[in-house]
Amino acid sequence: MKTKNVMIVGVGGQGSLLASKLLGKLLLTKGYDIKVSEVHGMSQRGGSVVTYVRFGEKVYSPIIDKGEADFIISFELLEAARYTEYLKKGGKIITNTQQINPMPVITGAAEYPENLEEKIRLKGIDLIAFDALKLAEEAGSSKAVNIVLMGMLSKFFDFTEDEWLNAIETSVPAKFLDLNKKAFDLGAKA
């Protein structure tokens, strides 16, 4: 099997590390070789953050390069647009439509581009854009955006719902389990 590449992008503080942790646990139970590359330190402070998840028979590089991602999971619309160059031909972008203004936009030095969804689609990119924040809030917490997005991603993987739920159980605190299960379900049905 050729190595599969999932890139998770977002804004520091949105919880992308939990999403990669969950994916890693799931893939480990399926017997794949895996590499997950994270970002710690300064860029976490509200900056653009990227996590790479790679799995297959034998994975060498810990990072995903331009033109290599099978999936880009984005927690924020502008971040989805920023990383389109990393998508491979036939790859898919799944993005939360939430918009978070970066500092240059807040200060007026730059503008948040308009109609990004349309512009991405016009490039022939397969894009799923939906309000994951609304679904997360419906599940009980705005912090569950990561699990809502994993729910959406699950539609494109051949893993059973039980396998996903087991991975969620081992990744989140017990008291938030029901909330996260609901978030996953809402994402999977969106």
């Binding site: 520091g12 503080g13 890693g24 646990k25 480990l28 070789d33 895996i34 590499k35 997950v36 590359s37 994270e38 970002v39 710690h40 330190g41 300064m42 860029s43 976490q44 402070r45 509200g46 900056g47 653009s48 994975v59 060498y60 590089s61 810990p62 990072i63 390069d65 331009k66 033109g67 290599e68 502008l78 647009a81 920023r82 389109t84 160059e85 990393y86 998508l87 491979k88 031909k89 978070i100 203004n101 970066p102 500092m103 240059p104 936009v105 807040i106 200060t107 007026g108 030095a109 730059a110 503008e111 948040y112 581009p113 990004l116 512009k119 991405i120 490039k123 022939g124 990119i125 705005s142």
Partner: protein, 578 residues
């Protein structure tokens, strides 16, 4: 059972399995998690030291006493610990002593891109370089064995992509090691007469290590099908070469980066038509090959700057890669920013408003340099704010006095700010130092330090009294301000700048991300009062933006700190009652 582990967690696992019982470190990205994970094992005593030099000396003391020990740091931390490093190379160890150093090519979270491999060569200490988590675990255990076998400290060199990548490891059981201490003055007292006798021991040891390197399993030659090219590589660069070429070409993978083998490399070079060295940053392996008289290619192909990747390697050899789709849209940058509710914000606003020259330091508050605050003039290294300010003021006969300050965090002040403050007091420059006391080491992800009252394990610990400390070194004027109170900040800073003697202002409020910090309700905008003057935008808070012409507060981010409302002349930003 197989587990997915972060490279740093795997080093910690290697410490556990290798019988390590003492860890002393100072946090620094990308090395911090080694010590945090080590602290989770009951069998390992682990602590945060005030700086890397103290950490290394403490860990050396533990090894001397007969316990296997470790200290970890980022690349620039090794500069701080370089003093003991060069001399414990002479003394050698008793029980095994391993030093972890994590480089940051690409400077994801660092102020320079130094290549720590040079330290191994300069201090004549062996260095191992893992390329994934499994190797990180195994090499850490091996490092203890080599340390004891060759009577030397051993360096484990990580880099961001190995330290912060998870890959699969197979954990095993712990071995217990206990040695006894015997007084050996000629080995451990490095005065000239003894040190002169230890230096040849070091040189002989290096020769023995070269011999070891010739057949060590961690230096392995992987035969390819095509001998037109052979790659010599290590660390994450090895992974990029294998990603692009698989088993096509022969690869000599060096797990021990200092000292390097001679015969093994020469034999490898003879077996292929063309030798290419693939390594990040400096041409360290390449230089060794050149010294062996081999004709190799390296830095004429690959840059001295930044990280490598599979596409960079592919491009250099004409292997086509898919070019992704560029959106062609102007995508605004998203630089890191101070968090909403960050206590540093109000303080930096005050400094920017008064147009002060600000000597900065290393920590979250370096982000005070980012527009719109743009309140910092320099950032060099840990502690440089205070000592730099002293020189800046002292050299100009009072011309700069009253217009300059140093800003330094609580953890950085304990690390290496104190000595600078002693210099200000002792050599009397009229300088004002601001200690940004947010009660935690913030940037590296909330580590305890001597000012917080807790230790690495989370237990209560002795808490340094910063006011008393500053007074004890000879600073008479020490004031404490709440950075959420802009009027107070400005008054106190102006008073201290106009005083005719050195002073310290402690800007005290805990980091807004600390779990015990209670946030107020988000502020609300009174749209009838907002005149769109954008004064509230001057503090660079990510929770505030202008929507439809008036201020807008992001409820998910705002902590209700109220700094913005103090700037609003029209009373449009209101606190909500609890």
């Amino acid at each position: 059972m197989k587990k997915l582990m972060l490279g740093n967690e795997a080093v910690a696992r290697g410490l556990y399995e290798g019988g390590c019982s003492f860890v002393s470190s100072y946090p620094g990205t990308p090395s911090t998690e080694i010590t945090e994970y080590a602290a989770k094992y009951d069998e390992i005593y682990a602590e945060w030291a005030p700086n890397e030099k103290v950490a290394m000396e403490s860990a050396f003391g533990a090894a001397l006493s007969g316990k296997r020990s470790f200290c970890g740091m980022k690349h620039v931390g090794l500069n701080v610990a370089a003093d003991p490093l060069f001399t414990i190379s002479y003394t050698g160890v008793n029980a095994g002593f391993v030093i972890g150093v994590a480089d940051d090519p690409g400077m994801h979270s660092s102020q320079n891109e130094q290549d720590s491999r040079h330290y191994a060569k300069a201090s004549k200490i062996p260095m191992l370089e893992p390329s994934d988590s499994s190797e990180a675990l195994e090499m850490t255990k091996l490092a203890f064995e080599l340390s004891e076998k060759f009577d030397t400290p051993v360096l484990i060199k990580m880099c961001t992509r190995v330290a912060h990548s998870q890959s699969i490891v197979e954990p095993s059981d712990r071995v217990e090691v206990q040695k006894s201490y015997e007084k050996t003055p000629e080995k451990y007292i490095m005065m000239p007469g003894n040190a002169k006798k230890r230096h040849p021991v070091v040189e002989d040891r290096t020769l023995a290590l070269v011999e070891y390197a010739e057949t060590a399993e961690i230096n392995r030659s992987e035969n390819g099908k095509d001998n037109s090219i052979g790659f010599i590589t290590s660390s994450t660069s090895y992974q990029y070469v294998k990603e692009v070429f698989g088993d096509k070409y022969s690869v000599l993978k060096l797990g021990m980066i200092y000292p390097m083998p001679e015969k093994l490399i020469k034999d490898f070079a003879e077996s292929v038509d063309r030798v290419v060295v693939v390594e990040e940053l400096d041409g360290f392996i390449e230089e060794h090959c050149n010294n062996l008289g081999l004709k190799v290619e390296g830095k004429e192909i690959f840059s001295l700057l930044d990280e490598l990747s599979q596409n960079i390697v592919a491009d250099k050899f004409g292997v086509t890669t898919e070019k992704g789709i560029v959106l062609g849209e102007n995508i605004p940058n998203r630089p890191p920013v101070m968090c909403a509710g960050c206590p540093h914000r109000g303080l930096f606003y005050t400094l920017a408003k008064n147009k002060l020259t600000v000597m900065g330091d290393i920590g979250c508050y370096t982000l005070g340099a980012v527009p719109p605050l743009a309140a910092i003039d320099t950032t060099i290294c840990m502690g440089a704010s205070i000592s730099g300010l002293h020189g800046f003021n002292k050299a100009n006969n009072g011309e700069n006095d009253g217009k300059t300050v140093a800003v330094i965090g609580d953890s950085t002040f304990m690390h290496s700010g104190m000595t600078g403050l002693v210099n200000i007091a002792y050599n009397s420059s009229n300088s004002t130092v601001i200690i940004l006391d947010n009660s935690i080491t913030g940037m590296t992800g909330h580590q305890q330090n001597p000012t917080t009252g807790y230790n690495l394990k989370g237990d209560p610990a002795s808490k340094i009294n910063l006011e008393a400390l500053c007074k004890a070194v000879g600073i008479n004027r020490v004031r404490v301000v709440d950075p959420y109170n802009l009027a107070e900040c400005e008054t106190v800073i102006k008073e201290e700048l106009s005083a005719e003697e050195p002073s310290v202002v402690i800007s005290r409020r805990p980091c807004a991300l600390l779990k015990y910090v209670k946030h107020n309700k988000p502020l609300v905008v009174d749209s009838t009062k907002c005149k769109s003057c954008k004064m509230c935008m001057k503090i660079g808070c990510p929770a505030i933006s202008i929507k439809n012409g008036i201020a807008d507060i992001d409820n998910t981010l705002c902590t209700g700190c109220g700094v913005c409302s103090q700037l609003c002349k029209f009373d449009a930003l209101k606190a909500q009652e609890d």
